[in-house]
Subunit: 254 residues, 2 copies
């Protein structure tokens, strides 16, 4: 069997393949959701969020002929990994916050510095918020991130005056992952059907009751070796190319 | 002139080249500085921090035969870009905070969730902190990030009891950028000489008085097209390969 040339059955996407997939997903995300800002789940979401930003630029408010980047806020969540200070039983069972958004970042009120002078002063309220991660494996981390951000947004909205509430656009959430693994999920998300028109969304107390979900690709429940996790990227690319070659060889002999 | 095959004189490093350079720098960073955590300046620092993490793993406290990731904290700074709400005159002249570390993250005291139960409860105090960005162009953003983090650390240390201060290891800062542009800098950093033994560092009130500086590569003052900023990564790689081919051709005819 020619697959013995490979050390294992791991899936090895290259940087270029993932980059292209993110670009393709960005078009769907722009059409269906049009995000105002991203919340990247670190460390896995950092690379996809950075590449997505390239494809999700918006016309500048100062000069609409120019494009501007949409902001990225980062949160830190750890599920499978050891964080210093966690006890052994916690690893893999619980989501641990290593960084979170402060109340001002959620509400956009009283943001320090010159940003507050502007009309559109940041914050999550009234925005289309895209949560970004690397892979949707058990869905535990994504469920946690969505539920906790939703909680913070609801609490910030409830602190607004009636007048402020009236002026506020609905807050929407969507999720983007590079890969969604087709497997049974431990976490759940209230999903909107693909391509649902915005008018058909249900809004409750200023927040959309469900999320839009985008994946760069659907994959089987295989071990995925991300290029940014490799110490030897040249070998990674060699094995990625070899796996494709073997697949093509097998297809041509069948 | 054969360079007319290229659209411009921009520098186009590939993902793989940058990945390899980050891996090489990581060895020097580990030897000279041995970081406990990273502070990634978003969005540019997100990709390099994520790749660096792969190369900077440390033995686990729970099981020293296993390696664990070091934490990444993210801050958001904007210099050249428009942030919604900034006024026109601000762009390119000032550094604007779009995300920052809260006081608990700096001090490591009272961090919410299970992390606080551990001995090594996060925070910047007493740690080797590596600030990570994409490129050192004018040095303005790096100066801002270092000065402000230093200010926060000094203020957190001054709030400690005398006993806590006595037990605290020195806090050290270092900087890593993928590329340092060889040009006159507007920002300044108090630099430690390369490879200075740790014993020769000057510590004042619990903080090292200068920073270690690491760059993946020194480059000329050219326009650099990072792969994560490209909408067409295939064309980027084609132009990168073509530029190398032209250079080799020219070298062989000279």
């Amino acid at each position: 069997m020619s697959t013995s040339e490979l050390p294992d059955d791991h899936f090895r996407p290259t940087y270029e393949e993932i980059h292209v997939q993110i670009g393709e997903a960005a078009q769907r995300i722009k059409n269906d959701f049009d995000p105002d800002l991203m919340v990247a789940i670190g460390g896995g979401g950092f690379y996809p969020a950075r590449v997505l930003r390239t494809f999700l630029k918006k016309p500048s408010a100062l000069d609409p002929s120019k494009l501007r980047n949409i902001p990225i806020q980062a949160i830190g969540l750890s599920l499978y990994e050891e964080v210093s200070g966690t006890s052994e039983g916690q690893i893999g069972n619980e989501v641990v916050r290593t960084q979170w958004l402060d109340a001002k970042t959620v509400s956009g009120k009283g943001v320090k510095g010159k940003i507050e002078e502007g009309k559109d002063a940041g914050g999550l309220l009234g925005k289309n918020v895209l949560i970004v991660d690397e892979v949707d494996d058990s869905r535990t981390t994504l469920q946690y991130a969505y539920n906790e951000l939703l909680k913070d947004v609801r609490s910030a909205i409830s602190a607004l005056s009636e007048e402020e509430k009236k002026d506020l656009a609905p807050t929407r959430f969507a999720i983007f992952v590079v890969h969604n693994k087709n497997k049974e999920k431990r976490g759940t998300l209230p999903m909107l059907p693909d391509g649902l028109p915005k008018e058909q969304e249900e809004i409750q107390n200023g927040v959309c009751t469900a999320v839009r979900y985008f994946a760069g690709a659907e994959i089987d429940d295989v071990w995925c070796c991300y290029p940014w996790e490799e110490t030897d990227i040249i070998e990674h690319n060699r094995l990625a190319a070899l796996a494709k070659e073997i697949k093509a060889r097998q297809a041509s002999t069948n």
